[in-house]
Symmetry: C3
Subunit: 409 residues, 3 copies
Amino acid sequence: MTTKKNKTLKKLESVEAFKKFVSEFQQSSSYREPIGFGIARVDRGQVNSEKILQATYPVVNWKENFGSAAVFLASLEASGVGIDVSGSEFVSSINAKFIENALNLFEPFMNEADGDKHRNIQVIAMLEEVLGMEGFDVEVDYKIIFIFEDVAPKSVESAYLKLYALSLGKAPLRSLNLNGIFGLLTNCAWAQGTPIELDYLREHEIELKLTNSYPPIDFVDKFPRFLTHVIPADNTRVLDSSKVRFGAQLAAGTTVMPGASYINFNAGTTGAVMVEGRISSSAIVEAGSDVGGGASILGVLSGTNGNPITIGKNTLLGANSVTGIPLGDGCIVDAGISILEGTKVFISRDEVAKIKDVNPSFNPDESKELFKGLEIAGLNGIHFRQNSQNGQITGSRSKREVKLNVELH
Amino acid sequence: MTTKKNKTLKKLESVEAFKKFVSEFQQSSSYREPIGFGIARVDRGQVNSEKILQATYPVVNWKENFGSAAVFLASLEASGVGIDVSGSEFVSSINAKFIENALNLFEPFMNEADGDKHRNIQVIAMLEEVLGMEGFDVEVDYKIIFIFEDVAPKSVESAYLKLYALSLGKAPLRSLNLNGIFGLLTNCAWAQGTPIELDYLREHEIELKLTNSYPPIDFVDKFPRFLTHVIPADNTRVLDSSKVRFGAQLAAGTTVMPGASYINFNAGTTGAVMVEGRISSSAIVEAGSDVGGGASILGVLSGTNGNPITIGKNTLLGANSVTGIPLGDGCIVDAGISILEGTKVFISRDEVAKIKDVNPSFNPDESKELFKGLEIAGLNGIHFRQNSQNGQITGSRSKREVKLNVELH
Amino acid sequence: MTTKKNKTLKKLESVEAFKKFVSEFQQSSSYREPIGFGIARVDRGQVNSEKILQATYPVVNWKENFGSAAVFLASLEASGVGIDVSGSEFVSSINAKFIENALNLFEPFMNEADGDKHRNIQVIAMLEEVLGMEGFDVEVDYKIIFIFEDVAPKSVESAYLKLYALSLGKAPLRSLNLNGIFGLLTNCAWAQGTPIELDYLREHEIELKLTNSYPPIDFVDKFPRFLTHVIPADNTRVLDSSKVRFGAQLAAGTTVMPGASYINFNAGTTGAVMVEGRISSSAIVEAGSDVGGGASILGVLSGTNGNPITIGKNTLLGANSVTGIPLGDGCIVDAGISILEGTKVFISRDEVAKIKDVNPSFNPDESKELFKGLEIAGLNGIHFRQNSQNGQITGSRSKREVKLNVELH
């Protein structure tokens, strides 16, 4: 922790001056390059105001915008709140002096900060407006967060920043350390995006109920919903906000129907996918695939022995099917059948040959016709069916297109 | 387009005068009998105010109330906005003069316009009140729409009018041309019934998030929800508004449970049905049937090769079953099984005989015992099961009542 | 009905005086020990104000707090509204005199009434505050309810009190008489917890739609949602309020996911359970069990011939499975299979022997290897699978832990 000081940084007059300032500061011991950083509005507990219930980031920086990181750290250091870049993350309050300093440093770009440009500067400019607003206290309602190492998050604020990075597609699914996140987050009642401590409801139940002011509770969970924090692409649709947890990732063009679907945190799609079933935490579905009505893709917490599932491109999971193994491109799982790690699948030698054509690395014993699910996990172009006359689960070369990964050939 | 003029129509003094006026106007070239018409309040884009995001009709006229259509066209023509009845549809703004003219023409019925009576007149009377209300601009916030030909809708307003006709049961499911509707409608974020352009959220994200005024988004879709526009019958229940898309039809007595159900647009029920599963777009379920928990009825967009599915009366689709063919009355699909177009179903000769009794037109080869799903599509009284000892999918005469259509005998 | 009188009861000065008063009143003919009682705020019909649409209880007394019951009955009797304890239930309005009298009788405890202590007194104290509040009328907006006999409820207020007793875990599931409850409750449109008569929407549709004030309808049902009335335990999660109907019971630690789950009234969990499927009305799931994604447990209204289903402890229902029989502890139903009352299950003699080890009362014929579902209902430690090569449904000794009930040994 550096010594606290409270001084005003000089207004920078040119882009060159800005670059010089940033460059020098980045060489100093006060700077450390963050993986991610941002400024969040925080919701605090109604009963326990020390408890952070939610952190809302208007702008998330992830392996980018290090100039702004330098400005923020320098402005913080000068603002008297003190900084500490020695740990895996640094979470701090802000104050009016921080805002003033950041504005002074950002001065050369102030006129261009609009729309998609200089969004960190827009955040600071907005915070300056907030200083004059009734009902907000910048020292209480906002936090600045830096993540320096991708280890288990230590704060609600850094946990949210990682969930944002996933949901905004700035970090790949399954790439971040989220260990212990359930322990960090508080189980709350959520009313129209605002988290409410259950204890607050308990303490005020009599008054709230008798005066008809009990809040309309949408759900009770540790996580908020995706749509509370993320604006999807123009061609992405989520027909029910309850169906996608914050921390999920939806690639542009994905549609999530409201029937039996659900996408958990750290799960989702990497291309346009039709989702009418469940994508459990850790599962990923690639472009052009279709998760049929009520289809389940199991997750590491729900039946896959810790092997996370990826479903390849252009694969169809039929209505009410269950998939417990990874699948490649161009597969079909017929409606209503379950393919788990231990499911035995009959594939005739003819069909094995055809499947080998689209899976160069698949080389089973010549005579083998019965495969466990795990043995054929991740292969392209398999059509899984159940013979309706003898109940046999079979695999055969599917008629869906398989685009072979050229790097494998 | 007729020449614009701006004149006040004379107040009609009697029902006879009204009839005479209407009759004469209907003979004129300014009139054309509409299939449907109505006046809507429109939600416009927050960023692009030319974009209509939603049209809310308090009253929908569908093959009815042609006197009101004449009054509206005559009042419009006189109001100076100009009319054009030459195309498949006509969408226009309205103004104060239109309201004044329509009131003058409707004068003979004004005193009776209440409750279920003369609802078009009530709309005009309400618009007159709106003229004096803060926050509304009749020339911006309302539109009048006439559909003359059932071709692909050309406007958001006419698309909504058709969806209303379906959802209100004024037009049969699958009877209207909805081609291109996905292209017409804008994908929006919906907050408590109000559509919000995604671009608006993007442009204001920083301000909205930092000032705790980000709207609570219920869903992101091109379509609104059924319950935002339609008041169901007293004995109809929809336990979660996300489960029924606008454009679906729910006959009185239908119950839609919140588990795994969904009813898409241009799909629904024609009698009292218990719905705990999915009725895909284009699928219809008739009176007394039961779509079990998680059951899927496939749609033309999801696996039926373009053949829309009708499920007859008093038929039971078991929990987690999947149905990909039309079924007649009194059928049962057992829990967890899938009957698709290509599914082979064994029906013993004894059972074929019993099934023929309730399907006079069903005359398979004498020796035939193995049927593809499509070959027995639409038949009454079949019970589909899977033999739990050998996996065979079988059909037999169900024990559910089949009411034979007397017209077939 | 006692004669009406309107008198002020004397303020009690000590705990002894309170005990004496209660004891004497409880001997009088005006008192009868209730099963349950409480004071509710009621929502009345917007069109028909005589119709009670919802009753919200801040405090529910169930086989407890009989001193408060005596205070309430004595205060009511003196307040001039008259009491009647002769029927199975008694529902009454309250008035200012009732509040004054109850405060006088509760006087000795007034200072301690806070937090979890003396919550009935807190209710009366809050009602005294309501007397001075704009927009409330204690004679119209509140009711006091006593249930003396557990027969079919006769009022909306008593039906709600019973549903509260179930949802708060004060009465065991399936223990209360709810006959006729569907007839008592009114099908309403619900907007953020407030019930709205469908007729109100009909009568005001034109005005509401044209002035952009149509309420955002969350659902249409006779029952409200669980989270509108009940504050769950800190470790209980309900990720979508639509998924749990009021009248369901969720033991602490239960998680209800938003995919394909639903818990109906008079159904639920008696320990920490992961719920990703459907628990139909009358079904109960015990501690440590897991209802997989899309799994269905049938209810007495949906396929079990009236036999309510209990699922024992530590049992796993796989994704998209269907269970139509009770199961014991430590069972597994594999993903995607259906075990109904009539399903034939093959259990080899070896496995029968192992299953007998954890089910002392299970003594089938020596040679029996084929069992109907009902014949093995409620047994512990069975793993149900479908052989993927011949379609046979089999039972075997599961590998999940079975904790034998010591009382059975």
